[in-house]
């Protein structure tokens, strides 16, 4: 086989990288690189210059310094399950894969903290403390494969964030390697941090500020009781009304998930749950807390569901049955393969009260392009996941699916919502940022990015709709007397 000569510069880079991470942890072979050419946003592929697999913060810093010395961009990657192209390589980049940094560094039950490396799989955090009656709250459906580092970058949510919040509410400190190789800890694992909320800048930064090499997360006591129920409805209208009425009754469920007919069909085919196929919608709901409180709220919620027109309400008779219900829900995306050769996962947010109306608009838009859409989503917080079904073998369908997906975001914007509730902007939605935000808003967000990464080394071309330079800080920055004299007089 004839191979092209590798440019001298690249040879030098490869050698330097190997010097940092040791043999076998730099991938430059074209065939091996294929695995890393895309993330969960399949369909777009870009080959990185090289992949590196560091195992320590020092190695990450060393790798970043090599990239800095040669002026090459860096794309961080965890498990590669992101759905917006956040870990999609940019041409000529170094892809820094954190999947070997899987150590749990400390468990502090008393202070409800856990220190982990970024490659630790979400579910493994909970597994490490489950026997002690604790858990890690953010539970993306991909939790058995996605990494904490990826969760931090995307500010991932999950079914239970309605009551418990998102990743940003559960990360208290993070160690970040900046573009010049400097290592800094933001946030405070022990107490309320002083100063600006830099954790909020790092969580949800989509890999644009640096590489997270360690994080301290908050862990929670498992609630005393969880009651789950599954209710079916004639249509998403009744199911949507049910959600609104439950909330209006002063109940804060731990999770409320909705599935429409197509989604139910796919889930039944893929997972074997015995859900009825002849219904218009189903809700899967958890209430949790202390015993009497949960008994009361679960009972009230079931009554509300009946009054709202539920066809049937099922409550699991065992933990195994409950787990199966949730397995059905969490396997929903993958289940789409059973009803369609291809599908596009959309992620948009609308005010909860508009669910029924918006679902109808989405159905109309999809039908007008001759396609089908399945809906399985976090109804409690209005976070829609329309799955646009298509067949890539049919000329034009993929393009039409993209058109539909885009129109769905415009509907979300029109109803006062957002273009992403948990999957991030990445490359996929950067163009819509300009529809959701004004130029000055984006400029201000760019201040945050430039604070961390003025050269735009990390994940260039993501999130922002048009390339934004950082520029020099205009005007003279005159330090305050306190700053100038050194701070903290004790």
């Amino acid at each position: 086989m004839k191979t092209l000569p590798i440019p001298d510069r690249d040879v030098a880079i490869f050698r330097e990288l190997a010097g940092v991470v040791g043999p076998g942890r730099t991938i430059v072979d074209l065939a091996e690189l294929r695995t890393y050419e895309c993330d969960g946003l399949a369909g777009v592929r870009v080959r990185p210059l090289a992949v590196v697999l560091p195992e320590t913060t020092e190695e990450v810093a060393g790798v970043v310094r090599v990239a800095a010395a040669h002026g090459i961009p860096i794309v961080p990657r965890g498990s590669g399950t992101g759905l917006s192209g956040g870990a999609l390589p940019v041409p000529g980049c170094l892809l820094v894969v954190l999947s070997r940094m899987t150590r749990i560094l400390a468990i502090d039950l008393e202070n409800q903290r856990m220190r982990v490396q970024p490659g630790v799989i979400n579910l493994d955090v909970t597994r490490a403390i489950a026997a002690d009656g604790y858990y890690y709250a953010p539970d993306p459906s991909s939790q058995s494969v996605c990494s904490i580092g990826g969760n931090i970058a995307e500010n991932s949510g999950g079914a239970h964030c309605l009551k418990y919040g998102f990743t940003v509410n559960h990360v208290v400190a993070a160690t970040v390697v900046l573009a010049d190789g400097r290592v800094v800890t933001v946030g405070e694992s022990a107490s309320d941090p002083l100063g600006y909320d830099l954790i909020a800048a790092v969580v949800g930064s989509e890999g644009l500020v640096g590489i997270v090499t360690e994080a301290v997360v908050r862990i929670l006591r498992v609630p005393e009781l969880t009651r789950t129920f599954f209710a079916t409805f004639p249509s998403t209208d009744e199911a949507g009304a049910c959600v609104s009425e439950i909330v209006a009754a002063g109940i804060v469920p731990a999770a409320v998930e909705m599935m429409d007919t197509l989604a139910i069909e796919a889930i039944v085919k893929a997972t074997g749950v015995d859900w009825p196929l002849d219904v218009g919608a189903a809700l899967l709901m958890d209430v949790d807390g202390t015993r009497a409180e949960v008994e009361h709220t679960a009972g009230a919620a079931v009554e509300i569901a009946r009054a709202a027109g539920a066809i049937e309400v099922r409550t699991p008779k065992s933990d195994a049955e409950r787990a199966l219900m949730w397995k059905g829900r969490k396997g929903a995306f993958a289940a789409m393969g059973r009803i369609s050769p291809n599908y596009y996962v959309q992620d948009g947010v609308i005010p909860r009260s508009q669910i029924s109306t918006v679902l109808r608009e989405i159905a109309a838009v999809t039908a007008s392009e001759g396609l089908r859409v399945a809906n399985v989503f976090h109804a409690g917080d209005g976070n829609l996941h329309p799955l646009v079904l298509y067949d890539a073998r049919v000329p034009g369908e993929e393009h039409r699916a993209e058109t539909v997906a885009g129109k769905i975001l415009q509907i979300c914007i029109r109803y006062g919502g957002s273009i992403t509730g948990e999957h991030g902007v990445g490359v996929d939605k950067a163009v819509y940022m300009g529809e959701l935000f004004g130029d000055a808003d984006l400029e201000t967000m760019n201040f945050v990015r430039c604070t961390f990464d003025p050269e735009r080394t990390f994940n260039p071309g993501k999130v922002f709709p048009t390339p934004r330079l950082c520029g020099d800080v205009p005007g003279a920055y005159a330090p305050h007397a306190v700053e100038a004299t050194g701070v903290g007089r004790g």
Binding site: E188, A190, G382, G416, H423, A440, D441, T451, A484, V487
Partner: protein
């Protein structure tokens, strides 16, 4: 727009050269734009309840009062989201939500005086923080007026949103140094059917820790768990608030009483669900020396012995309220001689920082004390990033110049 010049109004002792009270957000933006073109330094004034925080700003050319910016911009009860202007007081906002049996689940002191803008800027909180968190857990959107007068926004009006960098959380606790908070949007919670408190005590610090641990171990879920310190005996009384539906609250109260009894503590059920909030306010708004302390909750006994008790013993008429599950304490009282008070504050800070916590002066009346003891203490290792952030947002450093951590 009312352009009032009031003699004697100061921000941490720095006199304001002029005071402006814009009538709406457009006027506020114009005020900031004008200030930018003149190079004026700007500070913000809400209810004036937290003016004791931080360093003295190096200058205040224009003090922007938010008093007239007090509209509810949008309230969607069905979505449990509200957007309000910065000058509305916490109490006025809660009154607007009450007819729908909803609330912002945050119970900071002085609700009738404190404005939303001021509360967000100081990251204020009260006892319900245990259950509902702080502003960073409740804010979903913000609109700000930048140093250059530009109006910008981040987040939105839905409770779940990851589009773009999180400007709302950056505004929280930024003490008016990144921009003027113009409006804030919050997720709301239902007003519970019942709220009942129980008082337990008295016990020492170790007893308080045991009570806290037993509460967590038994998976009770109080909305608030605070304890007041008796200055004479150095013992604590816990005040624990349960909220929810009647049946659930009754069960939790009964179980909590049993837990307390098992530890040899007497308990008394209290009807008034506001009691922890009232105690909190009383302790935090007392005296002429006030501090807020945060430490890992697991080290509470050491913290109490090495920092809290010695400080409280030096202050006159000392009060302390602690949040044992969160490792938070507020200590207040009267300075008893400058050297003794300085030594006590510095000693407490050393002990707290040794536990990886921090001690912040929230109000110190005597300038001699304020000059001698840093309001914040040791800056975190990420301080250089905070400096860079400030440079980006306010390159000419005209917003509350030098007031915040490390002179930001």
């Amino acid at each position: 727009m009312r352009d009032v010049r009031v003699g004697g109004t100061t921000v941490r002792g720095t006199p304001a050269r002029s005071i402006v009270a814009p009538g709406d957000l457009a006027e506020a933006a114009a005020v900031l734009g004008d200030a930018a073109s003149r190079g004026d330094a700007v500070a913000f004034l809400g209810g004036g309840t937290e003016l004791g925080l931080g360093y003295a700003p190096s200058r205040v050319d224009v003090l922007v009062k938010t008093a007239h910016l007090c509209r509810v911009v949008e309230y969607a009860p069905a979505d449990m989201v509200v957007e309000v202007e910065a000058g509305i007081t916490l109490a006025a906002m809660q009154r607007a939500l009450a007819p729908h049996r909803q609330r912002l689940a945050l119970d900071a002191p002085y609700p009738e005086l404190a404005t939303i803008g001021g509360l967000v800027a100081t990251n204020a909180f009260g006892p319900r923080r245990l259950r509902f968190g702080t502003f960073r857990d409740l804010i979903v959107g913000v609109s700000m007026i930048r140093a250059d007068g530009e109006r910008v926004r981040g987040g939105g009006k839905v409770v779940k949103n990851v589009a773009g960098f999180d400007l709302p959380k950056l505004a929280v606790g930024s003490l008016g140094t990144l921009g003027m908070i113009a409006t804030a949007t919050f997720r709301l919670h239902p007003v519970p059917e019942v709220a009942r408190a129980i008082r337990v005590g008295a016990c020492g610090a170790d007893g308080l820790v045991a009570l806290t641990r037993a509460t967590i171990a038994n998976r009770l879920e109080p909305a608030a768990f605070v304890a007041t310190r008796d200055a004479a005996s150095g013992t604590y009384e816990a005040h624990v608030l349960f909220e929810g539906f009647d049946a659930g609250v009754a069960e939790q109260i009964a179980r909590f009483a049993t837990i307390a009894e098992a530890q040899g503590l007497t308990s008394e059920s209290l009807g008034d669900g506001e009691r922890p909030g009232a105690l909190d306010e009383a302790a935090r708004t007392h005296g002429d020396v006030r501090v807020r302390i945060s430490v890992p909750p697991g080290d509470f006994v050491a913290f109490e012995r090495d920092a809290l008790a010695p400080l409280a013993n030096v202050l006159g008429d000392a009060r302390a309220i602690v949040y044992p599950p969160l490792g938070i304490a507020f200590v207040s009282g009267y300075a008893t001689g400058v050297p003794a008070t300085i030594a006590a504050l510095q000693g407490a800070r050393r002990a707290v920082e040794a536990l990886h916590g921090n001690l912040v002066l929230t109000d110190v009346r005597d300038p001699a004390l304020g000059d001698a003891v840093d309001p914040y203490g040791t800056v975190p290792p990420s301080f250089f990033l905070m400096q860079r952030l400030k440079e980006r947002f306010d390159p000419a450093r005209r917003l509350n110049p030098g007031r915040f951590l490390g002179g930001l």
